[in-house]
Structures are given as C-alpha cells and as structure tokens.
Amino acid sequence: METLFFVIISLVAIISAILVITCKNPINSALSLIMTFFCLATYYVMLDAPFMAAIQVMVYAGAIMVLIVFTIMLLNIRVNATQKHSHKVLLGSILGIFILINTVVLLFKSQVSNPVGGLTGDLIKNLGHSELIGREMFTTFLLPFEITSILLLVAIIGSVILAKKKI
Amino acid sequence: MSNVLSLTTFLPILGVLLLLFIPKDSKSVLRNVTLAVTLVNFLVSLTILSGFQTNAEFQFIENMPWIAAGPFVMRYNIGIDGISLWLVILTTFIMPIAVLSTYTAVEEKVKEYMICLLMLETGMLGAFISLDLFLFYIFWEVMLIPMYFMIGIWGGKNKIYAAVKFFIYTMVGSLLMLVALIFLYFKGMEAGITDFGLLQFFSLKLDMTTQIWLFLAFAFAFAIKVPMFPLHTWLPDAHTEAPTAGSVILAAVLLKMGTYGYVRFAIPLFPDAAHKFAPMIATLAVIGIIYAALVAMVQEDVKKLVAYSSVAHLGFVMLGIFAFNVEGISGGMLQMLNHGISTGALFLIVGFIYERRHTRLITDFGGLSKQMPVFATIFMIVTLSSIGLPGTNGFVGEFLILIGSFESELRWWTVVATSGVILSAVYMLWVFQRVMFGELDNPKNQKLLDLNARELTIMVPLIVMIFVMGLYPKPFIDKMDPAVRKLVSQMRVAPVNAQAIPAGLPAGHPAMETPAAEPSMMPAGHPVVAPSSDVNTEKVVNPHEAK
C-alpha cells in the first residue's frame, strides 16, 4: 500500500518536474514546480518529518514560488518562441541522463552508513518533530542558525541595492 | 673587509638608489655617476683579487641564515674560488666600459638605462658568487629582468620579438632547472644535507638515473644560456636588437653564466651523468662551432655575424669543459674571459660604426681603413684576438681547450673543432675585409670620423687585456689552477669511458690510462659525508616531512 502510494507520488513528482523543464510558458513551469514541491512535502510526511513538510509548503511553495511567479508577472515575459538550439537541448539532455545514470549506479553501489542516531518514528511521535528540530537547532546548530541571519540580511541588502529604482 | 664580496655585489644597487635622486634630465650627471659607481666597484673587486689566496678553497665566504621554512633551509652563502674570481673581475671590468659606451649611444631614458645596467651588474655578480643553489637561482633569474628591458626598450627595430624570445627561452630552461634543484634538495635531504649549500651537494652520491635526469635539466638550462646548438637562435636576435652596451654585457658576461653553470653546478654535482653525456654535449659543441661559423660567414649584418661567432666560441668553451681535464677546463675558463673581452670589444666596434652610420649592413661599408685608421687598427687587433692568433688572448684559451680535449676521449671531436679555426679566420677576415678594405666608394662613409678620445678610452683597456692575456696568461691560469684541479678531481669520481680511441692510431700501445674504475652506482640514499665544518648549521631541520 505504502509502496504503491510512493510510486504514485514519485510519478507525479517526476512528471511535474519534467513539465517544469518542458513547458514553454514560465508560469506553467512555476506551477509544475509547485506541484513537485507538494509531492516532496508528501514524501517528508512519509519520512516522519512533518515539520519539514510544513515548511516545505510554507517556505518553498508559499514564499519562494510566490516570489518567482510575482517576478515573472512583473517582468511580463513573453512566451518564448521555438527553441532555436535543438542540439543544445539534445546535448543537455544526454548529459543529464548521464548524470542520472551516474547517480543511480552510484546509489546502487554505495554503502550507506549504519544508523547513528536514536531517532525513531516512535520518538518523533512522542516528542513531536518540531520540538526535536528546535532543540537541535538552538543547541548544536546554534552557529549555523546565526549565520543564516547574516545571510538573510545580505540578501535583503543585496536585493534592495540591485532592484530598487533609486538608491 | 670580510664582506667585500657583498659590497661588490650590492654596490650597484646602492648606485641605483643614488640614481633615483638624480633628476631625469641631467643626463651627463646620470652617466657620470653610473660610471663612477662601476669604476668604484671595479676597484673594490680588485681588492678581492689582491686578497685572493691561490688555493682550491672558497674564499671571502659569507654565510648567514636567510630562509628556513618547511623542509628548506636557504642561506645567504657566498664565496669565490679561482673559477668564479675571474668572472667576477671580468664583470666589474666590463661594466665601466659598457657604461662609457652608452654616453652618446643612449640619449633617451638615460636614467632608466643606467638603472638597468646597475641592476644587471648586481644580478650577474650575485650569480657568480652564490654558493647556495637557491641564491644562485634567484640571481640567475633576476639577471633576466634588466636585460629584458634593455633589449626591449633601447633595442632596434625588432626589439620586442627579440626581448620576449630572450626572456622566455631562458625562462623555460631555468624553470626546469628549478624543478631539478628542488628534486636534488630532497635527494640531499634523504642523505642528511641540511641546506642548499653547494659544497654539501658536492659530496652527495646519487644513483645514475637520478643523475641523468638532474643533469639533463641543469644542462638544458645552461645550454640555452650558453647558448649551444640548437638552442642558440635567441642569441642572434637578442644581440642584433640589443643596444651596444646590452650586447657587450650579454656577450661578455651573461653567456658565461651558462658555461659557468656547467663548471660550477652541472658537472661537479652530477659527475657520472656528465661523463655519460660528454660525447653528446661535445658533439653539440662541435656542431655549434662549425655551424655557427658557416652561418656567420654568410651574414649580412655585422652584429649578427659577431653574435654567431659567439656561438662558435662558446662551442669551444663547452668542448674544453667537457674534456674533464685541467687543460681543457682552464682553457674553457680562459676562453670565457677571452670571449668576454674580444667579443665585447667586437660589439663595441660594431656599436661605434653603427652610431656613425646607423646601419650595420656589411654592404654599406667598405674602405673604412682609409678614413678611420685607428679604428681599423683596433678592429684588426680585436679580430685577430677573436680568431685566436697566437700572442693574443684568444689563442691561449682556444689552444688549451683543444689540447685538453685532444688528450681526453674527445679526440675526434677536437679534430673537427680545430677546423673551426679555419672557418673563424674565414668569416672574421672576410667581414674585416669587406668593411675596412676596398674602395671607399660610399659617399656617406667618406665623412666618417675616426675614434674620439672616449671611444679610445673604452677600447684601450680591452686591447691591453688582449695582449696581456695573450702573452702572459700565467697569473690568470695560476689563480684558477687549484680550483680547476679540484674540479677535475671531483669529476674523476666516475670511471673514464675509454672507448673512443681513434681507429687510425696504433692499437699496440696502451691507450688512455684510465683511472681505476670506482663503483659509480651508489645505492640510492647512500649516506653522505657529514656537512663540511665551514658551514655552521644554525637550524637542523628534520629531514623527514613534518606532517
């Protein structure tokens, strides 16, 4: 049952991902991408990471994609005419397929590390995913967390500098 | 006076500092100051000469810590022996002459020119006195820079091509040498050597394969500088384009770096490989002698002709060095000095007529003897010195080289090389004839003035030296003799390969007396004799990688 569900979700995710790169209209690509993000959120739930699923939807589908769509609208980009460089597409696709082959072979050959942590589905259900994440984030990963604040600040300054009409 | 060597080497740099404060436009002040600096430097170097003890040891040693980082220890380690002594003196001797020759030749950018000259002097002297391989390399490279600018800025029509060619050609060789140098150091470290000091490396025993590779790298770098056939093509270009003083220095001193490199580094460091390659190098040297002579014969540009004659002369030097005996090496050393003097003088002579006529094509001249008798006389003497007429300096060197190489296994090479004696007469006399003899039919030549006092002043010391060294070379040979003998003993490590007995000679008598064969193939990493005591090691570095 779960496997079937996984397969269906996977198919949806992959198809919508393919749509992202094939749709002529960027808006359509963006919508397909949102679809993929939802599929991923579904996976996260299946992987006992509900908090991640939540922020996937909120941050990605919600914030980032809105930003992108907004930009597309703002720039009012024309739908592209026909792809002129078919060889480019061909080569790109071949290379992408090579990447895929590489990665898949790699994954089949690789030995994943044995479980190192005591995290189980039960534990997550008992304590709550958010709490576990929060605990980690504010103790062990305090520094990276702080760095993100600088990162965001930089992003803000940067986008202001770059995009504001008059500085 | 313990650091008189440093003083000699860096005095020109002080001169540069002095020049910086002299305004650009006071050209004569700039010239005179430079001349004064070089003259003072010459005098200082004479104190080295007078203080030099005739023995095989390095003298005037200064040895101070310089760099010690990682596995490397480089020291400011300088000193001279009989071999480098004369080259140092030659350098300081040629410099005032070169400076004096620029008084009217260089009218533009005088200040920069003088700075280049002085920096060049430091570079050259530094290379001759370095006893630390790394230090040597630094000076070796530093020399390139001022020379590059001299050719490139004050050169002739095709100056940029020549300058860049000169620089890159030399650079390729020396960079390979750098790799070899590093490799050698690590080899030495395995055997307990503590720094880049040259003397320690002399006692290093390397296996044959290593020696061959290292020798090739060193030899390549030096061969470019010498320059040996077929790596010589930068030289005619560089010489033709360089201003007179540049050509003089290039010929008189810079080319000696290559041959000096063989004598000081490539051969004593890798004696077995040197022996192995001696026939090959001798072959190239001999080809160079004949080849350059033939090419010189058909040149149309006097300066290019002289440049090719340099190639031939240095072929002799190489042949002498690779004879591996006292006569050959002494001859080679003498020939270096001789070539410095006579080819330097030839370039000055070419410079004189170039300044007057702004052409160097042989066909533009003819019959100058009539108009310029003093010039003709001097040209004649220098020509004779260049073709090695007995009584002039050129002969002594050439003769010792030939007799030395004839004694060694390079007998047949010598026979061919000796025929270079004929060819040199052909091309030098031919050019002399075409320039100085014949009808004075070119109206432009009919108003030429003979040498003026300054030009005479330039030439007289050279002429004097031509005869002094030709008639009484004893002091020169005596001073270098112990060092040369030591060098020869260093080379004798390897068994002499006595295969080259000329077939035309009777086989009944014992041929070369080959020294008893010693085992040349030392096992790799064979421990070396402890570093000599005169090198005070301040910091002992763990030879093994600290990691």
Binding site: - | S330, G391, F437, L505
Partner: protein
C-alpha cells in the same frame, strides 16, 4: 752572446712599436725607414755574434736554450717563451736578418712616397720579429706564434694596398690557406703531445725534449699521423700542393714583401719546420714518401704554370712554388741539409730576382705614371730590352737566373744538384727514386726555360713599352741597387759552402755544420733504409753533368722561342690552345677550389642560416609558440559567453569525474 738571443726578435719588435705608434707623426721617410732597417740590422749583428760564438764551440755544445718567461703552464701542459739556438736556427736567423736587412734597405727606396710608408715598415719589422720567433722558438708553440705571426704579417702586407679589392682578397686567401695549414700543424702537435704524454708520461712540446725522447717513437703508425698533420701545416705555409694557390695571388703586395716573405723567408718555414723535426719525420717512411712526392709534384706542376704567365711577379711566384717543391723533395728524400741549403741559396737568388723585378716594375711604373698611362707595369709584354737602361738590375737578375737554372758554379747549381742527386740515390724510396729524380730534372728544365723566358722578355729584344714614355725608364737609385748587388753576389758564391764531396774543392761546410741537427734523423733513417745508397762517383758526376745539360736545354728553348724566333710562342699557342689555356689559367685550380670548397661552404652557410636556423630551429621554436597560440584561440572561442555552455562544461566535468570514479 747566446744569452742575448732574445735581442734578435726584440729589435724588430721595437721597430714595429716605434713605427706603428709614432710613424704617422714622424712623417719623415728617412727616419721611419732608417729605424726599420736599423732595427733589423741590429738583429743581424746579434745573429752574427751568435754565429761567431757558435763556430767557436765544439759541435756538441752548439745547442743553447734561453727561457724568457713562462707562458702557458697549465695542467700537464707547459710552454715557455723560450728560444733555441742551434746550428739550424743560426743559419736561419742569418738568412732572415741578413736578407731582411737588405730588403728593408731596398724598401726605403722602393716604397718612397707611398701612402702609409710607416705602416709598411711597421709591418715589415713585425714580420721579421715573427719570423725570428718562428725559427728561434724552442717549442712548437713559440714556433706557432711565429708561424701564425708571419701569416698575419703576410696578410697585412699583401693587403697593403687595401683599397684594391684584389689585394684584400689575396690577403684573405693567403691567411685562410695558411690557417688550413695551421689546422694541420695544431693537430700534429696535439698528436705528438698526447702520444708522448699518455704513453710515456712525457708531456712536452719542446723540441729538445722531444728529440731526447724520440727513440721512444715507433716507426709509422702514430708518427705517420702526426707528421702528415705537420706536413699539411707545411704545405699551407710553403705553398705546396694542394695549398699553393695563395702564393701567386700574394703578389698583390708590394714587391719587397714578395721578396722577403714570399720568397726568402716565410714560405720556407715549412721546410724549416720539417728540418727542425727531422727526427720525427724520418720515423715515418710513408710521410717521407708523401713529402717527397708532393715536393716533386709541386716542383713540376708550378713550373708548368710558370711557363705561361705574363706577369713578371707571377712567374717568380710560380717559380718560388716550384723551388719550394724542390726543398720538400729534399726533405722527403732525407736530404735535410740539402733542403736547408737550397732554402738558403733560394733566399739569395730569389730575393735578388724579386727585388730586381721590383726595380723593373718601379721603373716601369714611374715611366707609365709619367705618361699617364694605365698599362700594366708588371706585364712582361710591355717590357723588353731593359738591359740597356737598367744594367745593374739586369746583371744581378741574370746572375740569379743562372743560379736558379742550376748553371755551374752559381749557388743554385750546388743546392739543386744535391737535391737531385739525393733524390736519385737516397736509400728510402726504392724504385720511386728514379721517378722523383726524373720529375725533379724535368722541373729543372722547365725552370730554366721559364726563367730565361722571363729574362728574355724583360731585358732582351725590343722595348715594347709605349714609346711616349720610353725615355722615362731609368736605373733605380742606389738604395735599391745596393741590395741587388749584395744579393747577386751571394747568389753567385753562396753555393760554395755546400760543395759536394765529389768535387772536393772545398769541404762541405754546411753539411758538417748542420750535422748535429740531423744526426739523429740520419741515424733513425738507417733503420729502414733499403739496400743501395752506394753509388759510384762516376754516376754522381754524370748526373751532375746531365742536370746542367737539362738546364741548358731549357735555356736554349727559351732562347729559340723568345729571342731568335719570336713567333714561336704564338704558334705553339695556336697548336695547343686547350693546353695553353689550361696552363695560362693555372690548370683551373682556383676555380676547382671555388667549386669544391668555397662555393659549397657559402651555399651551405646560406642554407644553414636561411634554411636551418631560421626555418627549422626557429621554426620549431616559433612553431611551438604558434601552436600554443592556436590553442589559445581555440580555448578562447570555447568561452562562448553563454551561461548554458558554461553550465554544460561544469556538468560535463562532473559527469566525467564521477563516471571515472564510479566505473573505474
């Protein structure tokens, strides 16, 4: 006196320095010429002193070495600036300084008014110094200084009229050909030095030391190699086949130069050198044979050319070559003393003839100059009948001609006859002897013919000079004729010091005198001498007569062709045009050399430069640079500016890298 031997070369050196440095300022020809002459004369006096002293000593004490200063001491090699005085060098210094003084004196008159008068005397003095070094050197290297020094002076003096292209060319040719010889000299020296050093640990180039060790030398083998090398040196200096072509060209120089350098002294240096090393040469029968054959061949070869030349000095030049051939023949047959003897007598009569021709030319030139004519002052076809206007010149010249033709009792007779006799009777060459002798005899015949042809064309018959200027012909001044007279006298009587034993009128002074020098050589020579050498006196007498007869035949032919029947030469030419052309053009040897050596060298040089140096070597260098630059262009255009291309490159990199590690 021996101790002062160094003064001998010193005086001319001083003369050279004075005239060279200050000659231009002095200007006064008398002073310049006086200094030059005085200096060489002082040397002559010192030489005389040495000779006197030597005569007073017993033969075994007649060798003296004087070391001036150490010159090149390096490793095993040692060469001092040192002089060797022995009977041989004593003879030579006498000849050099004696003849030299006379020629200097002569030059004062001959060179009068020439531009660069001081230069001439400076060079002449320098030459004398070099020549004296050559003969006095006690080792090969000092000899070599002189050897090259005389070559240099020869170059300078041939090129004295440097504004003439032909003079410059001739000087260069002389120097280069000499250098070819020097090449051989050096190799010979190296071989001997190396052989002694490596086999017997005797590292020397000193003549006396080599002589002392010469018993160690093997017969043949290495000695053949060394001596052949030395002989190459000798052929260069002494203008023997194949290196003789420079000497006729060398006549471009002023006539005194031809007399001194190209007749009396320098060109005989090769002979002297073989004499000096006779004890080595004799150890190689092959070399001896080569020397003899080359000598004989040169003698006859040059003689044939001499018959067809019209330039008075060229005839003399070929005659010199021919006579030098005789000297080498003498050396080659082991008659060393005879070679030296002929050297000496030749110095007298040939110098006399050159100076005489100079006197003629001087006079001709003067006359032609007066008439503003541009006829060739040296062409015999312009001369004729000069005996009347120039009696002294004629007499001395005629005497010398008789000497060279080998007419008894003039000096040339004795020396030439001795050579021919030895060629016939020597114990070394077996059956070859008769050929050597025959060649020599025919050459002698030719000699007599062309010399008398010269005399007849110049001094007899009608005067063919432009009649306008005929009256301007006159005898030369005393300063010119005095040397002529002295030399003429010597040419007449000089032969008596070497009178053959069979004549018995006088003891053979010269042979005895030179005995200590050649003793060893003769001793070695007996080792391989063939049977024979015992010839009857009657045979000797007979041959002697025969040789005179041959000379007379030559003279008679000349007389017939050029005095009696003046149309004969033209007929002869018409009959054998090819032969005449060949002889007239010196058998096309110059052209042959141009074709064989000079042009190929130049062409090869051109090829090496334009073809190899520029195209191949630089081509490779620049080719590498161009290839790199080409790659630069390619790499550059890979940088297309498009983001997806850049991304493509990155992904490609990742794929390849990952693929390599995954699938390896």
């Amino acid at each position: 006196m021996f101790d002062n031997v160094w003064l001998i070369p010193l005086f001319p050196l001083i003369g050279f320095l004075i005239n060279g440095f200050f000659g231009k300022k002095i200007k006064n020809e008398a002073v310049i010429g006086g200094i030059g002459t005085l200096m060489i004369f002082m040397s002559f006096i010192v030489s005389c002193g040495i000779l006197m002293q030597m005569i007073g000593l017993p033969p075994e004490q007649r060798v003296f070495e004087k070391v001036l200063f150490p010159w090149i001491h390096c490793g095993n090699f040692k060469a001092d600036m040192a002089f060797l005085v022995d009977p041989l060098s004593a003879v030579m210094i006498m000849v050099v300084t004696g003849v030299g003084s006379l020629i200097h004196l002569y030059s004062i008159g001959y060179m009068h008014g020439e531009e660069g008068f001081y230069r001439f005397f400076a060079y002449l003095n320098l030459f004398c110094m070099a020549m004296l070094l050559l003969v006095l050197g006690n080792n090969m290297l000092v000899m070599f200084i002189g050897w090259e020094g005389v070559g240099l002076c020869s170059y300078l003096l041939i090129g004295y009229y440097f504004h003439k292209k032909s003079a410059g060319d001739a000087g260069k040719k002389a120097f280069v050909m000499n250098r070819v010889g020097d090449f051989g000299f050096l190799l010979g020296m190296f071989t001997l030095y190396w052989w002694f050093g490596s086999n017997h640990n005797i590292w020397t180039i000193n003549f006396t030391e080599i002589k002392a060790a010469s018993h160690l030398l093997p017969y043949g083998g290495v000695v053949t190699v060394a001596t052949l090398c030395f002989f190459v040196g000798a052929t260069g200096k002494s203008a023997q086949i194949p290196l003789f072509t420079w000497l006729p060209d060398a006549m471009e120089g002023p006539t005194p130069v031809s007399a001194l350098i190209h007749a009396a002294t320098m060109v005989t240096a090769g002979v002297y050198m073989i004499g000096r090393m006779s004890f080595v040469f004799i150890k190689s029968p092959d070399t001896m044979m080569v020397v003899a054959v080359v000598g004989a061949a040169t003698a006859i070869f040059a003689a044939t050319i001499g018959t067809a030349q019209n330039d008075i000095k060229r005839v003399l030049a070929y005659s010199t070559v021919s006579q030098l051939g005789f000297m080498f023949l003498a050396m080659g047959v082991g008659a060393f003393w005879a070679g030296i003897f002929h050297l000496m007598t030749h110095a007298f009569f040939k110098a006399c003839m050159f100076l005489g021709s100079g006197s003629v030319i001087h006079s001709m030139h003067h006359a032609l100059h007066h008439g503003h004519l541009h006829d060739d002052a040296q062409d015999m076809r312009n001369m004729g009948g000069l005996r009347k206007v120039m009696p002294i010149t004629f007499i001395t010249f005629f005497v010398s001609t008789l000497a060279i033709a080998g007419i008894f009792p003039f000096s040339g007779f004795f020396s030439k006859d001795e050579i021919l006799w030895k060629a016939f009777s020597n114990p070394y060459h077996g059956n070859l002897n008769i050929i050597l002798w025959g060649t020599g005899a025919i050459a002698a015949c030719f000699t007599a013919f062309y010399m008398f042809r010269l005399v007849f064309m110049t001094f007899f018959g009608e005067c063919r000079i432009n009649p306008k200027v005929k009256s301007h012909l006159h005898e030369s001044p005393l300063v010119i004729t005095i040397p002529l007279m002295v030399l003429g006298a010597l040419a007449t009587v000089g032969g008596f010091i070497g009178m053959p034993k069979v004549m018995g009128a006088l003891p053979n002074y010269l042979e005895h005198w030179l005995d200590p020098v050649f003793e060893l050589a003769n001793e070695f020579g007996t080792k391989y001498a063939h049977e024979g050498g015992h010839h009857s006196h009657a045979l000797e007498w007979g041959l002697m007569g025969l040789s005179i007869a041959i000379a007379v035949v030559g003279i008679m032919i000349a007389l017939t062709m050029y005095v009696k029947n003046t149309g004969a030469p033209a007929r002869f030419t018409a009959t054998f045009p090819a032969l005449h052309r060949a002889v007239y053009n010196k058998w096309y040897i110059d052209e042959l050399y141009d074709f064989l050596f000079v042009n190929p060298c130049k062409a090869f040089g051109q090829f090496l430069w334009k073809g190899f140096d520029v195209v191949v070597v630089d081509g490779i260098v620049n080719g590498v640079a161009n290839v790199v630059m080409g790659f630069s262009g390619i790499f550059r255009y890979m940088q297309s500016g498009y983001i997806y291309n850049y991304a493509f490159s990155m992904v490609l990199g990742v794929v390849v890298i990952l693929g390599y590690y995954i699938f390896k």
